[in-house]
Amino acid sequence: SQQGEEDPQALSIQEGENATMNCSYKTSINNLQWYRQNSGRGLVHLILIRSNEREKHSGRLRVTLDTSKKSSSLLITASRAADTASYFCATEAGKSTFGDGTTLTVKP
């Protein structure tokens, strides 16, 4: 069963703008991970946030976690055309817990 559900399904922005995508899940978690997938490629791990953390930064990425609402958000600041990809959240990633992703298009 898929637990992570991303929103929106698709997002189109201009280069330089910020992109925010959200993830909701259903059961208690130990951690939540975000992955990126470029077209025709495998998934690449971006960031992991543990259940006792509320916010985490990595370069232009900012992830928040609200365990009371069972939700997480991924913010990409100052987006670039190279950020065009699908983004997935995963809880307990070694199990079938990926959502269907948010497809981000960054226009140059």
């Binding site: 991970q33 495998g42 998934l43 690449v44 995963a90 990633a93």
Partner: protein, 114 residues
């Protein structure tokens, strides 16, 4: 350091034919996963190995799919016979920390069944 290696990258077969995919995980990673990804969807776990033991194969269609991980390193996923609905990307991933850590994915094997 080499990443997760999968082959073949692309495979086109006719229905009812057999097909096999191979995966070489990152050295030292004891956990190996096979995922199926349909177009526009997220990965769905087929099977997870801890060393050579399959610890979660509940989503593997065992009537036609089989997998093995001899010696706890390389793994092979087989489909026999293939059906039209098996057309998808088969992703292999590995990790060092079991099911709570970062997964490292290969580039995938894209199967087209005609």
């Amino acid at each position: 350091e080499a990443g997760v290696v999968q082959s073949p990258r692309y495979k086109i077969i006719e229905k009812k034919q057999p097909v096999a995919f191979w995966c070489n995980p990152i050295s030292g990673h004891n956990t190996l996963y096979w995922y199926l990804q349909n177009l526009g969807q997220g990965p769905e776990l087929l099977i997870r190995y801890e060393n050579e033991e399959a610890v979660d194969d509940s989503q593997l269609p065992k009537d036609r799919f089989s997998a093995e991980r001899l010696k706890g390193v390389d793994s092979t996923l087989k489909i026999q016979p293939a059906e039209l609905g098996d057309s998808a990307v088969y992703l292999c991933a590995s990790s060092f920390f079991g099911d709570t850590g970062e997964l490292f994915f290969g580039e995938g094997s894209r199967l087209t069944v005609l």
